[in-house]
Structures are given as structure tokens and as C-alpha cells.
Symmetry: C2
Subunit: 336 residues, 2 copies
């Protein structure tokens, strides 16, 4: 996307974008002018590329002259967030889709935020919750304009949204999960989604944005993985998962009997009370009409009290996430 | 709101805000340091205030030293937009909630936009459509990131949303309109809402944002005011309006029979085809669940193709509009 929009951005905003370093988990390229063919070699994991090393990428960025430098972290690495502070110290801004730095230990979170402020560098992370949907931006806008957020509620996982929007009893839940996994809709280990941990991390990011300094272990999490299956290998788990069908089918049947639907819902109030859980909602509840991988967020605030502020749309997927990253990049240009 | 947040903004963003000119339709104050008591005199239309004059307000702003100057136009005046260009030429940015400059003659619109660009001044207008809901910002973000908007659809009038969300046949439509007028939910002349002109203006603003250079008279408008009643005085109209009840009741009864609802819907496609009309929608259509004065916008784009991007919430009212203006002010600080 950035490559495709380079000329438009140069023309309309007089900003020239250059990739000087690009890497995936195994390979990287450090070059003043990275060409489309170099990107193709990287994707092909060609021998012309060096082995990936984030530290040397940051060193290279730090010593390369430019008006504005940015590291874009699209990994799920727990290590790279430890390097954000050294980016800020070297005059590099950071844009991230990686939830680990923001939802991990509070002390690291505070160090990252303090380092960005102290070094006057920009740190943007809209895509860590809701992909390109304006979850983070809405919170910033509401707070800066003096509104008070009383409650946040939503469906924050494209994967869990898809699973429960699809599950109507005609096909066993385990089959929906394994089919979704085969189509790449879940993590390679579906327990990463079903554990509720991904949703809890997003809720922690939003809570901290509200100034509520909670940790993931302060979130009441309903883990949808049977306790006996949590430590199995992926292969064994995928065999065992059919044994969980009866329990979830009971829940669905009860919900259907009550004219309700199952949705995996995240909730946060202004006291920091946070939970992520499989909820049974009325058929006419706004979350009941979600389709596909749609995410939704509902803000109840001092001003939006009677009727909440709602954003809805696909909250996952490479295209919309890339467009969210792009939005952050655009914000960065605007600030500088 | 700005007054209440001044200290927080000074502390967090190191930006000091001063009001140097403030005016309503009849009175104004021009002073380097406007106090809360001066604002009270203005509201009271006290003798200590001068008679309102926009030209001299702009002159005063132009000659007052400051790092960043902004004129905020919250009027519905057709005259003030003619002065935006002279603001830009004098180094004054403009934030507006006034639809007239943006939806009026295309030549004036282009002059305003060109003048803002030529003089490197910022022109922001998020609240001209959807109050604080991110209608304009979403279009900018989608386009800059290289997405293509194929269709926009929504309910863009808080007043018409309220009227049709309330109208279920138990009370005549004319009574809902006059009650709403008495509570200040409609314009003093409800025909300004019922004519569809307000919605058409908003649609023109959004269309131009997409690069579709249409005029209000290119919009197919369904005027809900009986032709015979369009030229009456307000008083006579409010007496005559009961005679329109039968026609709208027929429409409602037909809709109820078909399990449908009535909603005043705005539509725009990427060829510039634009319409605003009273539509009958299925009971399970997302617009059918609107309540109160809620607005909704649905973007169908190249990326958001299967499932649209949706923003919903109160799209009218002084508090949310003020918070939208505040958002623009915050964007202005960020840019500079």
C-alpha cells in the first residue's frame, strides 16, 4: 500500500517516502533505496538477503540521514518492544501493530511511554485493537475534548466474532474451528484465540489509554479451552477438540431456547473492572447482528450517555490492518 | 469546553489557548484576554459588548499577534464563508460547522479550498456532517491509504432520524413534528428539516470530499413538505401540517404491512449519483434499529466490500457538536 501510494503522497503532501530497511522473521534488507525486486527477494527468502536482526536494523536506521524516521513493528514479538525506547533515543518514531509492548508488564509500558515523551518521538498503535477501526483515536479524541468515558463494551476479536457468528448448531463447533484454522482465520494454534488472551490484551491496551493502569491478570477471562486441553501439543489438541463440542452445544441450545445468541464480549468500566467472556445476548442486541469477522466498539460517556458512540466493521485481515498502519503513518506526517 | 480544558491542554501539549474575539449574531467582544465574566455579558447581550461585525473581527484577529490563529464559524450564515479566503490570506485558519461554504456554489467551494492551500492555512469542517462522528475524517483516511470508496449510505439528519424513529402510527406525524419543534429538536421552521435540503447539503459535502464535484441541484431530493405548503408563513404552515398526516400514514401502514420501517436515507455512488429520500427498509436492516437522534454512515469500499465500515451515534446536539469542533482544534494543534 505505501509503495503504491508513494507518488500520490509526494504530490499531495510533498513528503517523499523511502524504505531503507525491511525485514520479515528470517531475512532482512538494509539499503538506501529498496526496490520492488529487492522486496520480492525478501518474500522469496532469497540468499541475497541478510539474516534478520532487529538491533542492526535500528542501528542502520539511526545512522541513515532523513527528516523523519519510523520503525513499523508488525510482529507479535515480545522482544522488539524492549527496543522501542532505543528507537526513541535515536530519533526514530515507532508505529506498531504488536500488542505485546502495550499490554505486557505495566513497568515496560510506562518506560516506553515515558521514553517517547522524553525524546519527543511519536508512538502510534491504532491497529493493536480493531485494525483500522478508530478504537484508540476515539478514546484520545473523547478524553482531550473533556468527555468522560464511563464504559466500553465490544467484540474485539475478528476470529471469535467469526466463530460465534457462524455457529448456529447445524455444524459442530469443533468443525467450525478447524475449518476456520484451515482457511487461516485463526492463529496456527486456535487456543491463542479461544483462550480469550488476545481479547484481554486489547482490553488492557484500551484501559491504559483511559488511564486505568491494569495488567492482563486483572482481567476476568473466560477461557474457552477445556482445562485438560491447555497443555497439549497443537496436533493432539486438534484431535481432542471434538470432545468439547457437547459443552458448547449445551450453551447454544439454552441460548436459542431463550431467543438469545452467543457472543464473546469484552467489557470495561471507569473503575478498571474488566472482563472478557462468552455472553448470551438478546436477539435484538446490536452485537447479535455482527457478521463475518466484524468487530464493534460501544462507548458510553458523559456526553454519549443515552445513546452510545459505535464503530463497526471488519476488525481483522491484512488489507484493513495495513490501511490502519497507513493511517498512523499519515498522522505521523501531519504531526511533523 | 475549550475554556474548561485550557489548563489540561497547556499542561499536556504545551499549547496556550486565548480567546481574543467572540461573537454571537448580535454582539461581540474583541479583547486580548476574554474573561468568563465577559462571556457572560455576551450571552446576556449586555451593553458592554459591541454590535457584531465579522469583518472587523477578522481584521482584529489578523493584527493580533499569536503563533496560530483560528476563526471558528458555528453559524449557518451564507455570508461568512465568503470571508474564509480573506482569513487564509491573513494567516488565519478556519474551523467550521457551517454547511453553506462547503455545499454552496461549486465555484465558491473551489475558491475556498484553493485559498487555504495557496496560503498554507488549515481548513477543518468535521462537524458539517454527523457532528462529532468521524464522517469526513474516515473519507480522508480511506482515500489517503489508497482505498476506493464505492458507495456511501446513511441517515444524516438527527431531526429526521428522531421523527421517523418515533413515528409508529400511535400519534399523528404532525403532532410528533410540532412536539419536536417545541422541544427544539427541529429548526424553528420544521420545513428546513422536512425539505431534505439539510441532508442534501451534507451529502454534497461528503461527495466533494470524494472528488465528486456535484451541486445540491444534482441531488435527487424527496421533499416531505406538501407542495401547497412550501410558501406559507411558519404560523400558517404549523396549522396546515395536520392535512399532510393522511399521506404519510398511508406510507407507514404499507411499510408496517410489509414488515418494514420508514427512514430518511441519503445515498451516493462513486459516479456521483446522489439521492436523499424517505425509504422503506426491512425490519432487520441496520438503519431500522436507530434510536433517538442517531446518525449512521456506511462505507462500501474496495477493502470494506463484503462488510461495510459503519459509524453510528448521536449526530446532532450542542454537546457532541462542540466536541467535534474541539477535535478539529486538536487536529489543528497537531498539524502545527
Amino acid at each position: 500500500q505505501v509503495q503504491a501510494q508513494k507518488e500520490i503522497i509526494l504530490k499531495n503532501f510533498n513528503v517523499e517516502i523511502n524504505f531503507v530497511a525491511i525485514a520479515n522473521s528470517s531475512h532482512m534488507i538494509l539499503d538506501q533505496l529498496i526496490s520492488d525486486s529487492a522486496i520480492a527477494s525478501l518474500i522469496a527468502k532469497d540468499e541475497s538477503c541478510q539474516a534478520s536482526n532487529v538491533e542492526s536494523t535500528i542501528d542502520y536506521l539511526a545512522t541513515t540521514p532523513a527528516n523523519l524516521k519510523v520503525l513499523i513493528d508488525c510482529t507479535a514479538s515480545d522482544h522488539i518492544p524492549d527496543l522501542y525506547s532505543s528507537c526513541f533515543e535515536s530519533g526514530i518514531s515507532v508505529i506498531t501493530a504488536n500488542k505485546k509492548g502495550l499490554s505486557g508488564p505495566l513497568s515496560r509500558y510506562k518506560d516506553i511511554m515515558r521514553s517517547a515523551t522524553d525524546n519527543k518521538q511519536t508512538f502510534l498503535y491504532e491497529t493493536t485493537a480493531g485494525a483500522a477501526l478508530p478504537f484508540i483515536k476515539s478514546i484520545k479524541d473523547l478524553i482531550i475534548s473533556g468527555d468522560q468515558i464511563e464504559e466500553i463494551e465490544g467484540v474485539f476479536s475478528g476470529t471469535l466474532s467469526y466463530l460465534f457468528n457462524s455457529y448456529n448448531g447445524s455444524v459442530p463447533f469443533s468443525k467450525i474451528v478447524t475449518d476456520a484454522r484451515n482457511q487461516g482465520y485463526t492463529e496456527p494454534d486456535p487456543r491463542d484465540d479461544l483462550s480469550g488472551m488476545d481479547v484481554a490484551r486489547k482490553l488492557v491496551i484500551l484501559a491504559r489509554e483511559l488511564g486505568l493502569m491494569i495488567e492482563v491478570n486483572n482481567v476476568e477471562i473466560e477461557n474457552l479451552v477445556n482445562e485438560a486441553h491447555r497443555d497439549l501439543s497443537i496436533e493432539s489438541y486438534l484431535k481432542e477438540i471434538v470432545n468439547d463440542d457437547a459443552a458448547i452445544e449445551d450453551k447454544l441450545n439454552q441460548a436459542i431456547k431463550d431467543n438469545k445468541v452467543l457472543r464473546y464480549v469484552a467489557q470495561l468500566d471507569h473503575n478498571g473492572k474488566a472482563s472478557v467472556k462468552l455472553d448470551t445476548l438478546n436477539n435484538d442486541h446490536p452485537f447479535s447482528e455482527l457478521v463475518g469477522t466484524e468487530n464493534i466498539i460501544k462507548f458510553k460517556t458523559k456526553r454519549y450517555s443515552e445513546y452510545p458512540l459505535v464503530h463497526k466493521g471488519p476488525g481483522a485481515g491484512p488489507e484493513v490492518t495495513a490501511s490502519g498502519i497507513f493511517g498512523d503513518l499519515f498522522t505521523l506526517f501531519n504531526i511533523h
